[in-house]
């Protein structure tokens, strides 16, 4: 088969593609309103991730640390955890949710998180009567999975802890997965155009915080406690990413009979089409003409680019698994040739992913999909000339590979800190396909001009 799926052979990592689980859990936590995650571990587990988010979003997010110190290694860390919750509840009168995110240190020393939570709930009832603070245990040691699984575990934990049976609310739960504010805007736009009452988990549009004359603006997540409680009473759930958020939808199905649908990650025209039709099926709402026109605008723009500029161009894509697969499918729609896909952790499910199986079945040129990959896998293939790329699509930590090899690179995924405003642009939906296409085109055009490679072709197309 020309499309092969392999695993990185080396044991160690050179230039990792993802960071560890607690980062994913923190990303989920900041998407919730009035929520301050507490990372139970060394201070770095929290501080590095706050920096990472700041690099990507150019915003500060409030995340706390239990500041594990040496005595915890001997005596256990629960006292620090309990002190951390106490500090937060005392000093932040508005906090309503505190995810308790474990790390390799606290999982290794075996702290009893659930036991602590029971104790803390008694303390809260006694010392802060009238206040309801949801303590959500998230078991996310760094030595399992990656930021991807950490996010997935966290969203499920949030729903597990907070979802509450009540009257049916007729809403649609939308589990977006690890996306950008621009993606949430696009998804909410569809829901609005179709007249659907939905709970978006997690609604991170408000991450793009403005400067206001009142000076009281800050970046925050908009999914409320009530939203999460209500997920138990929804008419249906749709998850947009198999590896990020689907577990929560499945949990709701199992526990509250809320039927769960998995959408193919809505990157590209066809995937967006399927998602919209799935939503139509779940809600009974029609797809309006307006969305047909948006689809058409995207197709129109892409048709200008595909066979003229994209056909046959070889692309390497790395990042989160759903993102990479979605991007590969989009690339094929516009005649780009993804020849190398890199997925960054050891999730054994990728080889069984129906989308990857489909690629193996239908791709008729040489494509390599590397699982458990690091970025050295990309770099060596380029340096050893095993691959001849026209474009790289991935997050900013691979930038030196592209810079040193002189290969144009479009920043997608997380983090995208070395370009301005990436988080504000969707990659999902029709607008996402449009933006991706035009960004790819403009990146290739800039390269043509820099290299003086037929740059004169750009006057009339």
């Amino acid at each position: 088969m020309p499309c092969s799926v392999i695993k990185k052979e080396r044991s160690g990592i050179i230039n990792p593609m993802y960071t560890c689980q607690p980062a994913g859990a923190q990303f989920a936590g900041i998407g919730v309103k009035d929520c301050i995650p507490l990372v139970h571990g060394g201070q770095g587990c929290c501080m590095f991730v706050r920096l990472l988010f700041a690099q990507h979003f150019k915003e500060n997010f409030d995340i706390a640390s239990s500041s594990l110190h040496e005595e915890a290694a001997v005596f256990g860390g629960v006292k620090r955890l309990e002190a951390g919750v106490d500090s937060l509840v005392k000093r932040y009168p508005g906090v309503r949710v505190i995810p308790i995110i474990t790390t390799c240190s606290t999982e290794t020393i075996g702290d009893d998180i659930e036991g602590s939570i029971r104790k803390l709930q008694k303390m809260l009832a006694r010392d802060f009567p009238g206040r309801v603070v949801h303590l959500v245990p998230m078991h996310t040691p760094s030595y399992t999975g990656s930021q991807v699984t950490g996010y997935n575990i966290a969203v499920e934990a949030m729903v597990k802890t907070i979802a509450k049976k009540g009257e049916p609310n007729g809403k649609l739960n939308v589990f977006t997965g690890w996306v950008n504010p621009g993606d949430v805007t696009e998804i909410k736009h569809y829901l609005s155009e179709m007249g659907i009452d939905a709970t978006v988990l997690l609604d991170i549009e408000s991450f793009d915080a403005p400067i206001m004359p009142s000076k009281d603006s800050f970046a925050y997540g908009s999914t409320t406690v009530e939203d999460i409680e209500g997920t138990a009473n929804a008419a249906a759930s749709i998850a947009l990413n198999r590896y990020e958020g689907y577990s929560a939808a499945q949990y709701l199905q199992k526990t509250f009979d809320v039927p769960a649908t998995l959408s193919p990650t809505p990157i590209g025209i066809r995937n967006t089409d399927i998602m919209l039709q799935q939503i139509r099926k779940l809600t009974g709402k029609d797809i309006p003409e307006s969305l047909l026109r948006e689809r058409g605008v995207a197709l129109d723009a892409l048709a200008d680019l595909a066979h003229m500029f994209f056909a046959g161009k070889k692309v390497a894509i790395y990042g989160h698994p759903d993102l990479v697969i979605g991007l590969a499918e989009f690339c094929r729609e516009v005649e780009l040739k993804p020849v190398l896909l890199l997925l960054g952790d050891d999730n054994g499910g990728y080889v069984k992913d129906p989308r990857i199986l489909n690629l193996q079945k239908t791709v008729d040129y040489d494509m390599e999909i590397v699982c458990n990959a690091d970025l050295w896998e990309l770099e060596t293939r380029i340096k050893e000339k095993k691959i001849d790329l026209d474009l790289i699509m991935g997050h900013s930590k691979g930038r030196f590979i592209a810079i040193d090899a002189g290969i144009p690179m479009v920043r997608v995924g997380f983090p995208t800190f070395d370009r301005a405003g990436c988080y504000r642009n969707p990659v999902v939906g029709y607008k996402g396909a449009l933006q991706l296409g035009e960004t790819i085109a403009n990146t290739l055009f800039a390269q043509m001009e820099f290299k003086k490679d037929r740059e004169w072709i750009l006057n009339t197309w």
Binding site: I14, N60, A64, A83, R91, P141
Partner: protein, 465 residues
Amino acid sequence: MPMKLLECDTLIPERERHIYIKEAGEDTTQFLPVSDSATIPGTLSERGCAFCGAKLVIGGVLKDTIQMIHGPVGCAYDTWHTKRYPSDADNFQLKYVWSTNVKEKNVVFGAEKLLKKSIFEAFDAMPNIKRMIIYTTCSTALIGDDPKAVARAVMDERPEVDIFVVECPGFAGVSQSKGHHVLNMAWIHEKVGQVEPEITSPYTINFIGDYNIQGDSFILHQYWEKLGIQVLSHFTGNATYDECRGMHRAQLNVVNCARSAGYIANELHKAYGIPRLDIDSWGFSYMSTGLRKIGDFFGIQDKVEALIAEEEAKWKPQIDWYKERLKGKKMAIWTGGPRLWHWTKAVEDDMGMEVVAMSSKFGHQEDFEKVIARGNEGAIYIDDGNELEFFEVLTMVHPDVIFTGPRVGELVKKLHIPYVNGHAYHNGPYMGYEGFVNMARDIYNAINSPLWALAGQNIQEGELL
């Protein structure tokens, strides 16, 4: 004035011992913030971990060394693409990070085999690189791995490589500071003296405590070149592993960052009799003071005066131009610790500015002795400041610019206060004469950005035309 309990701390009153507002007639025998003590959990402190202090701050700066982080992937990922220290070795130290990628089974059964395999893989992947630092992290420290034994075994098998092991799990100590300490002490006890440097000048120094942020070391190197001083080891800006093994032969240790690397300077004095000369390599006037001290030590005063005259001719008109326009402007400094005392008087003397609030993430009491001695009355001095304290301090003092990290900078931007990156600079380098002009320029452009006036305008009210 006794120590200050801020309103946001009323429910965690132990914070009072960490915050001081200086008043006339007081000195540090009366009031000195408690520092380098346990962090209160859940306060949104700005502190990082010991591993950060060892790898990100010091070890990771070396331009020819594999940084093998023994632990799960996160510690490696998180300390990669987060610093701006270039080198003249094609920025090798910015482009790569290595991890043994410890997984659950390693936590259960041990990870030494994995470490050994990763080491060989790393050396084989880059045959031109022969040096490595291995860092332990929270999990590998807890499971009791012996990386030093593994390193020895590898060095036995491959005599052309050398490996240094730093034991710096994130939970050690209370902040980055522990990592500085551990690395410094291990380096002098295990590595210094193993390489004999080739002496090419009658004047030899180690420059200790500068990490070439945005090319700071390159600026200083120009001075040493002009003075004919040979720097045996720059610890660790733009440095090689082996040059740092030859520190024992220097005649003088010139120290800028006494916090992160005072330890090795002290040990070098103890073991080899090399005197420690503390200077400030930030600051226009400070640079002259420092160079003159070095000139006096070596008896090369003429060369030093010629260099100072040349630099001042080039840069003094510019720093004075900024001083005229920055006079009276106020600054806050919320950084690691030492820049508080390096900058508070320098910006006053050279730029006419007043530092009104300072917070240190990991400084010790020694750093507070220095900053309070140099700093202004009425200024607020905070050890281990947290977010609510920052907000409250900004209601008490009103800086025109804040030197801090990008994340906190993005926070204060919402309050219409510009920040300049106090850790990695905006448009640096900031050391030396030219550097301080760069710093002044960034401050000037920050404060004078038309965007702040626009930010303050509520277009729902009033009329623009």
